[in-house]
């Protein structure tokens, strides 16, 4: 298994290099560059930007050089110094920008994930065990609704309700007075209050999805011979449920767990913009819009890296969870 893992990691390296080049190339593709979008923004606020100003800015930022040269410089810095370049928009190194938003992004993503699993798995099991019961219909109905409603729309509806009922749309993750305050119990409570809508909104679609997957898997597993045998041997129903079908049904959920690594890192983008959440998604979106290419490039690179890493983790997790796969490894 160790050998297999090492092989997988080595194979990932050329993939990542290849991705990094494609990423850089794609970012260069749209017309214009950071200077033109910056100039457009400055002109909109009444400032005068002449052609000479722009040429000088391009030269300063190295944007007048050919793509491959810019890529080579960027890649060299990453490999030699761990320096992912400079964000034009923020006037800061890319890593500083990422760090600034990382903490809250992790909180939102992880809490959302916990919410998803904590809600979806029990409901999935319940709806399978009590198939075609009233509860099954109700939960299935809700989960279909959840899958079909766009996240951001739900966000707007919940914000509207929150505004009409409580007079506060609960924008952002903190109330104004806490944004720059240091951590305290009050700030935690404020954060918890503001997290309700984002967590429900971001988590709902995948929760609904997970419920369906879990239910389907459970129904497959419930009447397998090993379950019947266990029942014949007189094991309690609860024990049987958790020992065999549930464990097997978790399989596809775990195998997709690794993929969610990159979404943990980005957080939801459109929903985050609608809800004014200070997390990575909107930062990335603005970087792409404003052609802040090193920030956007590093971002896409991180995501690619995490997807590769996530797949690896999924494989290892699966091996740990599923005895059948474990045996196959040993066999090799």
């Amino acid at each position: 298994m160790l050998q297999y893992s090492i092989k997988r990691i080595l194979m990932a390296i050329p993939v990542v290099i290849f991705i990094s080049f494609i990423v850089f190339y794609i970012i260069q593709l749209p017309p214009g560059d950071y200077v033109s979008s910056y100039s457009a923004q400055m002109t909109a606020t009444g400032e005068v930007m002449t052609q000479a100003d722009m040429d000088q800015m391009r030269a300063n930022l190295g944007l007048d050089r050919p793509v491959y040269e810019q890529y080579a410089m960027w890649a060299k810095k990453i490999v030699l110094h761990g320096d992912f370049g400079f964000s034009f928009n923020y006037n800061k190194p890319v890593l500083d920008v990422v760090k600034q938003y990382m903490g809250l992004t992790l909180v939102v993503s992880l809490v959302t994930m916990v919410f998803q699993y904590a809600v979806a798995i029990p409901i999935g099991i319940y709806t399978a065990v009590k198939q075609y019961s009233a509860g099954d219909y109700i939960f299935s109905g809700i989960s279909f609704l959840g899958m079909a409603t766009p996240n951001f729309l739900l966000a707007i509806i919940l914000m509207f309700l929150s505004y009409t009922w409580f007079g506060d749309p609960l924008l952002g993750l903190f109330s104004n007075e806490f944004v720059n305050a240091s951590w305290s119990i009050d700030k935690m409570i404020d954060l918890a209050k503001h997290m309700v809508i984002p967590v429900i909104v971001i988590g709902l679609a995948s929760t609904a999805d997970l419920i369906r997957v879990m239910r389907g898997q459970m129904l497959d597993e419930l009447n397998k011979p090993n379950v019947v045998t266990a029942r014949a041997k007189g094991l309690s129903e609860i024990r049987i449920l958790f020992k065999y079908p549930t464990r097997a049904a978790l399989n596809p959920i775990v195998s997709t767990f690794g993929w969610s690594l990159s979404s943990i890192f980005t957080g939801a983008t459109i929903t985050a913009i609608v809800l004014n959440l200070p997390i990575q998604g909107p930062v990335m979106y603005n970087a792409l819009l404003g052609q802040d290419m090193f920030l956007a490039g590093s971002w896409l690179l991180f995501m690619a890296l995490l997807t590769v890493l996530g797949t690896l983790i999924s494989d290892i997790l699966l091996a740990w969870l599923d005895p059948k796969i474990r045996t196959e490894f040993r066999g090799n």
Binding site: P31, S36, K92, G103, V114, L171, N176, W183, V274, N276
Partner: protein, 657 residues
């Protein structure tokens, strides 16, 4: 299952810890109050006019009593040099915060204009400048020598005296050396009326509080143009000396650049030399100075203890303690936050008029409209130099412009697009703004599709293709392409397309992102655009009406021609050439009334040609102010030239308890 649950609990704990660690940098920097009390100019004894004692904000009084700040009279200019700011309604109360939404450091001017202190600022009417940072000026008979007086004992926000040396330093070591990414502003050049020779002004120090600006040729509008082009004309020499390469050497500047977290010294010098108000380490003369990192989720500016203005009763301004700008991601959050009372003074375009008015009572705010010197709120500019020869000829044909003007029902446009706020009129200078012409607003404004079709037939667009759209006389496809950089105008363009197509003109709307739009403008790839014209006075800022460089869509590459001295672009002819000619006369003019007359000629040529067609009159800018926020004027003009909200003098805004 147990293991999974354990894993999740672990994840939750990790995430909370991560949040705790990473957010420490968002804490506000500890307020460092300057304890430095440099030698204060004490030539004039401190007078307490009428025996009243000058008053200051409680938060500053506390610092004074703790010995962390010198007493008020030591912080203010000499009594006779203190600037007294007129209040709009009443003498205010100290305290409170101006809470506003902010899109982040990209919106430098959002907080910039609100706090800007220029050497001379525009007066309420907007027709001339009045002293602000400067105490006054004298000018000789032929407008070549300007003697400008500063305020004695005035100080930077760190307590260091502000003198003529700061002006001279800015001129000698920053502006003329072009350290902050701007060319020497046009305002500092004077032009010989005969030869067109351009000469740079000379700036000389007379004494600590006086300096002169000498022009080779008369420069009647020098102060107005400085107020628009350059705005300030001074910099904190004691701070700039510690970062400029000229003083510390390139190596040290690079080191400081890195220290501040910047990559490139040039970008660093632009930020510190031009956008200085965003940085807490740079002293300013503004009412509020930066306290936090502009990149954090909330940008805070706090009162400047050395601010040099008082109200009529001698209370040191500003009234409000802080400006708190909270980051938003989407413009709709501005509306939502205002309705919920998160913000207390926010500006909106008239698009949000209905939703604001509906919630005025519930949200406890009021909507104050400020007029804009805009020509229209929905209109089309026709690029007179568009590359396609057929299209260019068409756009240059005045009959075509008349046809597309009268072929559209303005009543419907104003009702649907502006909720009936705008008048159904032509693009024209609004009444009360410099350049207003009788009858302009009604020109070609009556809906008359029959006449429009006749005009188009007359031009020779009689042939139709298989979709029944008109083609050029030579049978070539005729498509009107409108380039648009946002979806804000979607309703207007939808209606416009319908009317144009009713006239048999195939119309295509192409939406591109702003950066691409900007590049397309430079490449002359924009045949039609919806950009609005907004000009307070063409003599102050000619960019929208006179083709001096590539900027406004209607004159396209005529601008490139002037900008490149005739080397590139399209040579202006006819009335456009006449406009340029008038502009050259304005630049060389010796007296103000002649400038007014020449400017008026420019406006008249625009009225005659109507290169910009308006379908809905201008709409006001809306200020949504919490009912407790007082002293906000209701009669001001919202224009970039007058520094938008800065024109209301925010230092005297206050929150009534």
């Amino acid at each position: 299952m147990k293991k999974t649950r354990l894993l999740m609990v672990a994840l939750l704990i990790v995430s909370v810890i991560a949040a705790g660690c990473s957010n420490n940098n968002a804490e506000p920097t500890v307020v460092k109050t300057p304890v430095e009390t440099k030698a204060v100019a004490t030539d004039t004894p401190v007078e307490t006019a009428g025996g009243t004692v000058s008053k200051e904000a409680p938060m500053l009084a506390t610092l004074v009593s703790e010995g962390k700040l010198p007493p008020l009279q030591d912080r203010m200019p000499a009594a006779s040099d203190i600037m007294i700011e007129e209040v709009v309604e009443e003498i205010g109360q100290f305290g409170g915060e101006w809470k506003m939404p902010w899109t982040g450091p990209g919106d430098k001017w959002g907080v910039g204009m609100a706090t800007e202190e220029a050497l001379f600022r525009f007066n309420k009417e907007g027709n001339k400048v009045e002293p602000n940072v400067a105490k006054g000026f004298e000018v000789n008979a032929d407008s070549t020598v300007f003697t400008i007086h500063l305020r004695e004992g005035m100080k930077w926000s760190d307590g260091v005296p502000f003198t003529a040396d700061d002006v001279l330093f800015y001129w000698e070591h920053m502006l003329t050396k072009e350290t902050f990414g701007k060319k020497i502003y046009d305002a500092y050049y004077s032009v010989d009326p005969v030869t067109g020779d351009k000469a740079l002004a000379e700036v000389k120090k007379v004494d600590d509080y006086t300096f002169t600006v000498t022009h080779k040729y008369p420069s009647v509008q020098f102060l107005e143009r400085v107020a628009i082009d350059n705005k300030w004309f001074f910099a904190p020499a004691h701070f700039q000396k510690t970062i400029l390469p000229e003083f510390v050497g390139d190596a040290k500047t690079l080191e400081i650049t890195k220290e501040w977290g910047y990559e490139d010294p040039k970008a660093f010098l632009v930020e510190t030399g031009y956008y200085f108000w965003l940085y807490s380490k740079i002293p300013t003369l503004r009412a509020w100075v930066a306290k936090t990192d502009p990149n954090s989720d909330q940008f805070v500016m706090e009162r400047n203890p050395y601010y040099w203005k008082t109200d009529a009763e001698g209370n040191q301004l500003p009234y409000m303690d802080r400006i708190v700008a909270t980051k938003i991601q989407d413009p709709s959050q501005k509306v939502l936050g205002t309705l919920a009372g998160d913000y207390n003074l926010v500006t909106f375009t008239s698009t949000d008029f209905t939703v604001l008015k509906e919630n005025e009572a519930k949200g406890n705010f009021r909507v104050i409209p400020w007029t804009q010197p805009a020509w229209s709120s929905a209109g089309i500019q026709f690029n007179q130099t568009t590359p396609d020869p057929n299209l260019r000829k068409l756009f240059q044909d005045i009959r075509f412009r008349e046809a597309v003007s009268i072929g559209v029902d303005r009543n419907e446009i104003t009702e649907i697009v502006t909720n009936g706020i705008a008048e159904p009129i032509q693009a024209s200078v609004p009444e009360g703004v410099i350049g207003y012409q009788e009858g302009w607003a009604q020109k070609w404004a009556e809906f008359d599709p029959t006449r429009a079709n006749e005009l188009l037939d007359e031009i020779g667009l009689t042939k139709r293709d298989k979709d029944n759209f008109r083609t050029f006389a030579d049978g070539k496809n005729l498509t009107l392409t409108i380039v648009e950089q946002s979806t804000d105008n979607a309703a207007f363009l939808e209606l416009l397309t319908k009317y144009y197509e009713d006239l048999g003109l195939r119309t295509v709307v192409k939406v591109v992102e702003p950066g691409a739009n900007f590049d397309m403008k430079y490449a002359n790839e924009i045949p039609m655009h919806t950009e609005n014209i907004s000009v307070a006075n063409v003599a102050f800022r000619p960019d929208a009406l006179v083709p001096l460089r590539i900027i406004t869509p209607w004159f396209g590459h005529y601008g490139l021609f002037t900008q490149s001295g005739g080397a590139e672009g399209v040579k202006p002819e006819g009335d456009v050439a006449a406009i340029l000619d008038l502009w050259n006369q304005i630049k060389a003019s010796k007296d103000a009334s002649e400038i007014d007359r020449l400017s008026n000629e420019i406006y008249k040529l625009h009225m005659k040609n109507q290169w910009v067609i308006g379908y809905a009159g201008p709409t006001p800018m809306l200020l949504a102010a919490s009912n407790s926020m007082r002293n906000i004027p209701t009669d001001r003009v919202w224009a970039d030239e007058y520094r938008t909200i800065g024109n209301g003098h925010p230092a005297q805004f206050f929150i009534k308890q």
